[in-house]
């Protein structure tokens, strides 16, 4: 499978706090890849660096054969990498619809606005019901759906999801993962980089994955096998 996103020996962090050390990974076309790891292992930093919000200290990020490290975030979004963060980062005083509209801010996303909106409403019907509600007044699960929906509105070919299950009740987690599964079935040419602290949901969506511990990749390969094997917990927590 040809790869759409490739990260090579990435070092990054905040100010003089280095969080990531020589992280390399690979995401294929139409593939869902999991990145697992406990908190503080650098998962969110990795996603923010790929999205251009943080500048890498060293290393390469290659998207679709082109280097994108060091490019400003708006260029990276336009090229086709979208990010939904665990903190959601919604516009609380705007309606659901307006939030989605802003997802489609870049030029080519504006063209496919209706098509993408239909897709988002199809996988998260709840958002259509709440179309005119202010984002700040919604529940955590709904906000999570909106964050993912807004990322999809960018018309991205790579979707990066940061802990979509954090802090949510099991039922909501299920509806979000059902939505993602449906998304993978309907949408062509979409790859997902799924960052999760809890492994099990991730295992149901993807075969391959990485384990990040303390800023370094400590495992790479079949994620199901890793989770079911006895040594997982040790590896996962870096014991």
């Amino acid at each position: 499978m040809s790869s759409i996103l490739k990260v090579e020996e990435l070092n990054a962090g905040y100010g003089d706090v280095q969080v990531l050390w020589d992280v390399s990974l690979d995401l294929g076309k139409n593939e869902v890849v999991a990145i697992l790891g406990p908190n503080g292992s650098g998962k969110t930093t990795l996603l923010k660096t790929i999205a251009g919000i943080l500048k890498p200290k060293k290393g390469k990020i290659i998207f679709n054969g082109k280097r994108i490290d060091g490019m400003p975030p708006e260029r990276i979004v336009q090229d086709g990498i979208a990010l939904a963060l665990a903190e959601k980062e919604l516009f609380p005083a705007m309606t659901v619809k307006e939030n989605l509209l802003l997802g489609a801010f870049n030029k080519h996303a504006r063209k496919n606005f209706n098509e993408n909106l239909e897709l988002v409403y199809k996988i998260f019907p709840r958002l259509k019901e709440r179309e005119n509600q202010k984002a700040g007044t919604m529940s955590g699960g709904e906000q999570q759906m909106l964050a993912i929906g807004r990322a999809l509105m960018t018309g991205a070919r790579v979707l990066m999801l940061d802990e979509p299950s954090t802090g949510l009740a099991p039922l909501l987690v299920k509806s979000i993962f059902d939505g993602l599964r449906q998304l993978m079935e309907t949408k062509q040419e979409l790859s997902i980089l799924l960052v999760e602290q809890r492994a099990i949901q991730a295992v149901e969506l993807c075969d391959r994955g990485y384990i990040l511990s303390n800023g370094r990749i400590v495992y790479e390969g079949d994620i199901r096998e890793a989770v079911t094997s006895g040594s997982f917990m040790r590896k996962y927590l870096g014991v």
Binding site: I53, E89, L101
Partner: protein, 290 residues
């Protein structure tokens, strides 16, 4: 006790309030996007009225003078964003707000003194050919109605721009959540400049609108800033809509206070109110959040 019929006073207040709202809306947007409380904002009003007044004195046609004034305000505002404020963008949090406050304060002093000493007599008065109109048995000043009308129209236009256009959406998104806007592909740099330009346009129109009903002199810049700042504090430093409502309320209250207890004590009353407000609700009465 009141020399003027109260309804007329109310209209006077509303016109003043709308004018202040125009200035304050720019102040609010700039604060939202750049994290700077622009103390030199009132000088943008003055730079355009002074430019227009000077050109008019040299016999330039009115539209050209007004346009030139507008250009001056926009140019100054853009210069402020691109050059003067550059040192603060690398800073975070309180340091940034503080240095921004200081630099713009210094700039305000500089512009104020420069304008007052260079053009001490550049007063702008835009008198209209027909002084009054009668309506429902009351006699209104034409200028009063016209300026109120223009101010309201400008505010509606601003409202629609923010609500409907892509750029307006981008500006609102940046004030609400900068990281969120970044991951939607909104460029901070570009829209920061845009709000300074819009702030310049709004300030300039506020100056002209004021020029319809009063005389705007080069020394009034700080006064505009202070009143607009008060409007912002009442309306919530990040809410454009709160700003508009607060502007009208302050305009009316202020006008009545002046009519009742004179300008100076009215100022004192207003300032004491603001001080209480800063203590009780630092984030404004109307605005929803920072």
């Amino acid at each position: 006790m009141l020399d003027i019929f109260p309804p007329l006073l109310i209209i006077d207040g509303i016109v003043l309030g709308l004018t202040l709202s125009l200035i304050a809306a720019g102040l609010t947007m700039i604060y939202g996007l750049a994290g700077v409380l622009n103390i030199s904002h009132g000088e943008l009003v003055i730079i355009s009225t002074v430019t227009a007044a000077v050109l008019l004195q040299f016999g330039s046609p009115l539209p050209l003078a007004l346009l030139a004034g507008l250009g001056a305000a926009v140019a100054l505002s853009s210069f402020l964003e691109r050059v003067v404020l550059r040192p603060i963008y690398g800073l975070e949090g309180e340091e940034r707000v503080l240095l921004g406050l200081y630099i713009t304060l210094a700039l305000a002093i500089f512009l104020h003194s420069a304008l007052v000493s260079t053009f001490p007599l550049a007063y702008l008065t835009l008198s209209l050919p027909i002084p009054t109109v009668s309506f429902l048995g009351l006699t209104f000043r034409t200028a009063q109605l016209l300026s109120g009308g223009i101010a309201a129209t400008t505010l509606v236009a601003l409202f629609l721009f923010l609500k409907r256009s892509w750029s307006g959406m981008a500006i609102r998104s940046l004030t609400q959540n900068e990281v969120g806007a970044l991951i939607c592909g909104v460029s901070v740099k570009r829209y920061r400049l845009l709000v300074f330009i819009i702030g310049g346009v709004l300030a300039s129109s506020a100056g002209y609108i004021r020029g319809l009903v009063a005389t705007v002199g080069p020394e009034t810049g700080l006064e505009f800033t202070i009143l607009a700042l008060l409007v912002c504090v009442v309306g919530g430093v990040r809410s454009v809509y709160g700003t508009i409502i607060a502007g009208i309320v302050i305009g009316v209250v202020y006008t009545f206070l002046i009519a009742m207890i004179g300008t100076y004590l009215a100022n004192v009353a207003l300032l004491v109110f603001i001080m209480l407000l800063v203590l009780i609700k630092p984030y404004g009465i109307i605005g929803e959040r920072w």
